[in-house]
């Protein structure tokens, strides 16, 4: 099992969510986050004074998938979240040792 975390542009959330649902992903966790990468924020001028906007709003989605589907899930996110411009975001993949559904106590892939 793998955990996929993707930090994407907020307006791409719906598209990414829909695309993932279509390939059979059944659940995900979404968080509104702030951060910066190579995009490094930008400065805005307000009434003559410059303000540095350091952290840009992003959305982070997290999902756990089985090994079989992980490649397709990554590809799906890449395709749906891409605008080709700076700040499209990143995808992180890490191994997951165990998943437990609390209500039923199911383990492993049954609990995803």
């Amino acid at each position: 099992m793998k955990k996929i975390e993707a930090v994407i542009k907020p307006f791409k959330l719906d598209e990414v969510k829909n695309a993932l649902t279509k390939i059979g992903v059944q659940g995900m966790t979404v968080t509104e986050v702030k951060g910066f990468g190579r995009q490094k924020g930008h400065t805005e001028v307000y009434r003559g004074a410059e303000y540095k906007i350091d952290f840009l709003p992003k959305v982070k989605i997290e999902l756990i998938t089985t090994e079989e589907i992980v490649t397709q899930a990554i590809e799906t996110i890449e395709r749906a979240a891409k605008t080709g411009k700076i700040g499209d975001g990143k995808i992180f993949i890490s191994p997951v040792e165990e998943v437990i559904r609390i209500r039923t106590g199911e383990h492993g892939r049954d609990a995803i």
Partner: protein, 857 residues
């Protein structure tokens, strides 16, 4: 956990597997869907009855909706339920829903359930398309039947059979938005069985509309028996594929990706390997085409059918074109339905009118065309009148693309040019050819039409102006339509295609000269692109050889235009600015030859160059370098460039490496690397470029007599980040050459990681060709294989280890297929001619191609 419905999760899986093993999934897919749906019915009913016992809500009704309602339940499709209650009832529902859903969820089923009163249902169905369509398929499962009956009859009367036109408009809108999403060429290769164009959802739309308009469930009742049979087969095929996708992947997967194409083809009875996959995908394309036609036809019937008031109005507005056709409301229609039967030749006249009057035909006329297809026989195909009309359509070239598409869609084109049916839906299992051959051929004609219309005036002015110099554009259009006609047969498709095209031309009554011209264009349609992309265009001999094959200037123009159309029609990424500039260079050099009978390149001869150089460079420096410069070097660069190179070489003593670059059009740079020659230098440069994701297009490698290596590269970076990547490359190469870091260590760090399965894509068969004819001084090695990280580094290292000096390299990437061409000599500066050395060379390269990741670790 205690199984609540007397069945466990694994029981359900077992049941499904048992049903799957009967073979029904693909032999009788419809039957399988029904079985699966029946099985689900019993589970859902059990859950409902159990929940009813505990909750005790008397008047309530459970309805299956959506695909489940139709009884067409693919192995992992969603199960959509609707709980219907009388308007008064509200309490106690949420716990009931929970009690139904939980045990089903715990069985691993994808169940969703909404609960609505009849009133809510009807109200929402009027405004929400999704609710409306799911209700059409509603099916009674359990509970109070009277509620279901009441709701359905009111739904049909008040919602479904009203505002049918509006219903069609919203469905068409939904369809267009959905198709737009799947327009990406990736989806042409890996289509979505359900939502893509011509997918199962499209079929459903047609069915819903028939339900609404004709009040029948029998969609086939309003089509010709032939058509409904073919449609039925197409739908069955898609269902069979979808069943397999769900069963094999174990989830609701509708993307028909390469991985599953490979696995499913043998299951559906196609042969193993690439051939089977190509046959299967051909059937897929033909099937989805049928479904597309079906839904278009139904939408047309409802949307394009004018109201009766307008009909009367149009009747008076109607203009007669001739005895057979008339126009009204911008649409072309048939006056007498028996026209085609009496005189089939009128079919071609109809298309001609469509072009002349810029009018679409109404759906009744389209149906008449389809009905008349059997009248197209030998005498029709040989008829002078018909063929003259066809050629004049090509000649006029207005709206030629949409017109050919329509001919193709109605099945007319492949009846008229029977050879065309052999390439219909024909696909190649690779990443490069996005469209099936038939569509590709029509697209090629469209590209030419666009060029002629001036759509590409800004981007490709030369090509645009050439279209105006062509005497008989219809010959070019016809050649574009037929250029791949040989692809349905075994063997060299260009040569076979040329013979077929000549036969077709004879049938059409073309002159000998015209036939020869078409034959030439079809048989040589790959010559120009292969020469431009795989040969050194600085080599005069190559230009001469090419010019001899083309014979004259007119043919060169035609070939150049056809090459453009052919590549452009492959897919949006096939025609690159790099290919554009290489083809243009080849065209210009060859046209100089035809105009002046000489191949004077744009660079000067050695003596003239030297004369010029002496003006730029101080005599001491020139005398130090001049004698070391090889002849070939002079033909590749202008005196200005040579001057700069000598300056670079002169400062090499101080700095062991010099790298300069010049960027063109943001995505491409010409990089000059100057350093002292050493073993494996070229592969170290290519390795460092690869590390920095610089895509190498061309390399010229020169080693001067005094041990100076001067190499120029054309590189590209699609991400518009050339400057940063080149800076990094310079740093990396410096560190590698000075021995601070090892290239193989860096490369192994970059290796794709670890635990994540690679996406499955079509394999590319490896091939190595050795050519000693095209060049007097070099052996030309052509390598075709599957692209992967660091492949160029591997191959150049292989060539170096084999004792080859690489002098020129050109690299093209077509999807995941690479075609690399190297001009090489052995360590004594000779060609490699002996059979055993050639064999050995081939073996070395093949082993490098196939030892995938190993060489890096």
């Amino acid at each position: 956990m205690e199984p609540q419905l007397g069945i466990t999760r694994s029981d359900v899986t077992d049941l499904k597997n048992r049903m799957a093993r009967t073979g029904n999934t693909h032999s009788f897919p419809k039957e399988f869907l029904r079985q699966n749906s029946n099985m689900m019915d019993s589970l859902v009913r059990k859950a409902f009855q159990r929940a009813q016992l505990q909750a005790d809500i008397p008047s309530i009704c459970l309805i299956a909706v959506g695909g489940y309602g139709r009884g067409e339940l693919a192995p992992h499709s969603d199960i959509d339920l609707l709980l219907l209650y009388p308007s008064t009832q509200k309490e106690g529902l949420p716990p009931l829903v929970e009690k139904i859903l939980y045990p089903l969820w715990d069985l691993g089923l994808e169940v969703s359930c909404s609960s609505r009163s009849i009133h809510e249902c009807l109200k929402m169905a009027q405004s929400d398309l999704h609710i409306k369509t799911s209700l059409i398929d509603g099916r009674y499962l359990d509970g109070e039947y009277e509620l279901f009956r009441n709701a359905t009859s009111r739904f049909m009367k008040n919602v479904l059979h009203r505002k049918i036109r509006q219903f069609a408009v919203s469905l068409e809108k939904e369809l267009l938005i959905r198709h737009q999403k799947y327009e990406d060429p990736n989806y042409a290769l890996e289509p979505n069985i359900k939502e893509g164009e011509g997918g199962l959802r499209d079929f459903q739309i047609g069915r819903w509309l028939i339900r609404a308009k004709y009040r029948t469930d029998r969609w086939d009742s309003i089509l010709f028996p032939d058509h409904s049979q073919m449609l039925e087969k197409s739908v069955q095929f898609l269902w069979a594929v979808r069943n397999q996708l769900h069963l094999l992947s174990g989830r609701r997967l509708d993307d028909f990706t390469f991985e599953w194409q490979e696995k499913i083809a043998p299951i559906l009875g196609f042969s193993h390997g690439t051939v089977g996959i190509e046959e299967m995908m051909r059937q897929y394309h033909l099937s989805s085409q049928k479904i597309s036609n079906f839904v278009d036809n139904i939408l047309d019937r409802i949307l394009r059918e004018p109201f009766w008031v307008k009909k009367i109005f149009f009747f008076f507005q109607q203009k007669k074109i001739d005895g057979h056709f008339g126009t009204a409301n911008g649409e072309l229609h048939l006056l007498d339905p028996a026209t085609f039967k009496k005189d089939p030749a009128q079919l071609m006249t109809l298309f001609h009118h469509g072009q002349t009057y810029q009018a679409k035909m109404d759906f009744r006329t389209e149906e008449a065309v389809m009905e008349a297809l059997p009248f197209i026989d030998e005498s029709f195909r040989n008829s002078e009148r018909v063929n003259q009309t066809f050629l004049s359509i090509l000649k006029k070239k207005e709206k030629i693309g949409p017109l050919l598409r329509k001919m193709h869609e109605l099945g007319f084109l492949s009846q008229f040019i029977t050879e065309f049916s052999e390439i219909e839906g024909k696909v190649y299992y690779d990443l490069y050819h996005v469209h099936p051959v038939d569509i590709h051929s029509i697209l090629a004609v469209e590209e030419l039409a666009k060029l002629k219309e001036g759509d590409y005036q800004k981007e490709y002015p030369l090509l645009t102006s050439l279209t105006k110099e062509i005497e008989k554009p219809e010959m070019l259009f016809l050649s574009a339509l037929l250029h791949d006609i040989g692809k349905g047969k075994e063997g060299d498709h260009s040569l076979i295609g040329a013979e077929m095209a000549k036969c077709i031309a004879t049938r059409m009554g073309l002159s000998l000269e015209e036939k020869e011209c078409i034959g030439f264009l079809v048989s040589h349609h790959l010559l120009m692109v292969e020469t431009a992309l795989r040969r050194d265009l600085h080599d005069e001999q190559i230009i001469l050889r090419f010019a001899k094959e083309v014979e004259n200037f007119d043919r060169l123009k035609l070939l150049y235009l056809l090459t453009f159309a052919d590549i452009k029609a492959v897919g949006p990424e096939a025609w690159t600015s790099w290919k554009n500039s290489l083809l243009q260079e080849l065209f210009l050099k060859t046209s100089h030859f035809f105009e002046r009978e000489s191949v004077s390149g744009h660079f000067l001869k050695k003596e003239e160059s030297v004369k010029k150089l002496k003006q730029f460079i101080s005599p001491e420096i020139f005398s130090e370098y001049g004698e070391h410069l090889p002849d070939r070097y002079f033909s590749s660069y202008s005196p200005e460039e040579i001057t700069r190179h000598i300056e670079m070489a002169n400062s090499i003593e101080k700095e062991h490496l010099l790298v300069e670059w010049e960027t063109k059009q943001e995505v491409r740079s010409k990089v000059t690397v100057c350093t002292k020659d050493r073993y494996g230098l070229f592969s170290k440069i290519t390795g460092s470029m690869f590390l920095n994701r610089l895509n190498i297009l061309e390399a010229q490698i020169h080693t001067w007599g005094n041990g100076i290596a001067l190499d120029t590269f054309w590189v590209e970076d699609a991400t518009h980040d050339l400057e940063r990547r080149l800076q990094h490359f310079k740093k990396d190469l410096g560190e590698i050459l000075s021995g601070k870091v090892s290239l193989s260590v860096l490369l192994s760090k970059d290796k794709k990681s670890n635990g994540i399965k690679q996406k499955i894509v079509p394999r590319v068969p490896e091939e190595v060709k050795v050519d000693n004819q095209d060049s007097d001084f070099y052996t030309i090695v052509e390598v075709i294989g599957e692209d992967r990280l660091g492949i160029l580094y591997d191959m150049t290292q292989g060539l170096t280890d084999h004792g080859c000096n690489i002098h020129f390299a050109r690299i093209s990437t077509l999807g995941n297929r690479i075609v690399d061409v190297f001009y090489v000599q052995d360590q004594w500066g000779e060609k490699i001619v002996e059979m055993n050395r050639i064999d050995q060379l081939k073996r070395t390269i093949l082993s490098r191609l196939t030892t995938r990741e190993e060489s890096l670790s």
